[in-house]
Assembly symmetry: C2
Homo-oligomer: 351 residues x 2
């Protein structure tokens, strides 16, 4: 990631942050192109980041700045991936992490935070209060604040994904970029990256942005469409985009409009199906929020927002290895003893 440092808020001098961030694959998967019907589909596979999500870009830049400024403690609120990213990143950098999580945080992610010795506070009132507490603690105790949207370095770190996409497409940008939207920083960071490429004079056209929310938690889509949410109490299995009051919401709406894009919403069933397709046709294991962009392709096409022959990049933002309970399948295991006879039978019975 650091080869883009001339476009990052970072002084000269050696990089001290030890994890290797960025340069994730841009996958042209024949299987996913066939199944989705998008002939020029690319997946930006951020599951290959050090801790399995695109949050590592933000964590890396924030901690590199923090190391240079002499911070010893860093804090963030997070529904899961930021918490894992910051816990492991801080551990690798020799900093102490203080994490504020909402009650619905997944067990696997919690295990990793505790394994590396992060101080973890579970906030009963949920993410928004956790966020407020984390920011307040940073001010009061003099800790480094890595909260999404609060620390501008989170957007600066995440914008590098736009530079990589441009480079990997042979110095071009796609017609459309599709991203999951919770707080909206991934989307706004991507947009900032593309705009900087234009400001540098290396591209002319900017991509349209499609922001994907969950049907059960779609504040930005509803705001954009001037409708009330179709639920009284929000809920989705996609913890990464389960955000009722997006920190960066208004900016994300502005960016989507500026790009002549739109928001779409996907159901939890569609997310589970997208997880299965990404794995079985593309070999990528995603978590629910991480599969949202791919799941959003169908509704975006149905709404006339994308044509199937356009060049489309969908971001896969987080790995499913941390959330194995969502890796569901109807397949069965055949138990056999040491003979091929049963193998033959089982193979014949299957599809």
């Amino acid at each position: 990631m650091w080869r883009w440092r001339s476009l990052l808020p970072l002084d000269d001098g050696p990089i001290r942050y030890p994890l290797a961030i960025g340069d994730t694959p841009l996958m042209a998967s024949p299987g996913l192109r066939r199944v989705s019907g998008f002939s020029q589909l690319y997946l930006k596979d951020e599951t290959r980041s050090p801790t399995g999500s695109n949050k590592d870009r933000a964590t890396g830049l924030v901690l590199e700045q923090g190391l240079r400024q002499g911070f010893e403690t860093v804090t963030a609120a997070s529904s899961g991936n930021v918490a894992v990213s910051l816990s492991l990143g801080a551990a690798a950098a020799g900093l102490r992490a203080v994490i504020f999580v909402p009650a619905h945080v997944s067990e696997g992610k919690l295990r990793i935070m505790l394994l590396v010795g992060a101080r973890v506070f579970k906030v009963e009132e949920g993410y928004e209060v956790a966020y407020r507490l984390s920011r307040q603690a940073a001010r009061e105790f003099g800790w480094l604040d890595r909260n999404t949207g609060a620390n501008p370095a989170t957007i600066e770190g995440k914008k590098t994904v736009a530079f990589e996409i441009w480079e990997q497409l042979g110095r071009e940008v796609p017609d459309v970029a599709v991203v999951p939207v919770g707080d909206g920083t991934t989307l706004s960071a991507l947009w900032k990256g593309f705009r900087e490429l234009r400001a540098c004079g290396v591209i002319e056209q900017l991509p349209r942005l499609i922001g994907v929310q969950a049907e059960g938690c779609q504040p930005l889509k509803c705001l954009c469409d001037h409708v009330a949410p179709p639920y009284t109490r929000s809920h989705t299995i996609a913890d990464g985009i389960f955000v009722d009051a997006p920190i960066n919401g208004f900016t994300a709406i502005r960016d989507v409009r500026d790009s002549r894009g739109a928001f779409v919403a996907v159901s939890d069933e569609a997310l589970l199906q997208a997880i299965e397709i990404l794995a079985s046709a593309g070999g990528i294991v995603a978590e629910p929020a991480g599969a949202a962009a791919f799941a959003g392709l169908d509704p975006a096409r149905e709404a006339g927002l994308i044509r199937q022959n356009e060049c489309v990049v969908a971001m896969v933002t987080g790995t499913g290895l941390k959330t194995p309970h969502y890796l569901q399948s109807t397949g069965t295991v055949f138990e056999i003893r040491g003979s091929l006879r049963e193998v033959d039978k089982a193979m014949a019975s299957g599809d």
Copy 2:
């Protein structure tokens, strides 16, 4: 990985395998150097492979060859990581995978195999019989055989890790390379890679190899030391190196001796501790077998096999995200409501 193709058994023509393999980080972690006492320690972080283990190098080359030869079905026996690697790799490449696993396979790995539609046979008698059945099925049904050690492409693919280490160390090789040893192919592949570098005339000295086995399953260390195993029935939590009759065993012993290296054994407790240290001081989440090389540093030093100022590369072969039950910690989560008072108290009470 394909940039090494002039040293791989692969004809010209475009690469069809869609997953991006190789180019994993070689980490110089200040935290791990301090904790381990090895001042020139590097971690080759193979957890950053597409499916989280170094098996992806072998899978990639085998499937690239298979695609060119027109195979439709591929098979392997595996205690877990090969199974995941082959299931996802075959899914991405549009091939059908038939996997033979022993009964002790981990739940998380099994979920991934089923998610992508692999045909999975659980063999009651264990890994050795599973291996025999898989090979027999390949012959009988005309399937591509991706069994470790049986298909020479598995060694050829895995040897590329030696080329990368050499490149990442500034075109030098380390004094010592430390690797986990189950079947012994990772070790022999590394050795083959280093020998090819010497044959190419780009290095003179070869590294010493330290092979790390589990105390509860150490057939090669015992054979090498001319002693009987210190157990009547083998057992270890490290499924990746839980192999009683290593396919590539005699070759691995020869390679270790040729390198003037040795085998060491580590306990399950040492593996769990290594997992915690790798994460909390290095930011790397490893599974038990994946942490074995790092865990082997201590006994290797105590046995006088490595000096602390030597350049040492330890391979981290597999991610711990697939085996969350081994991510254990004594840490606790503090449950709070929306005020900083309890945060202050909890922070003061801690270390």
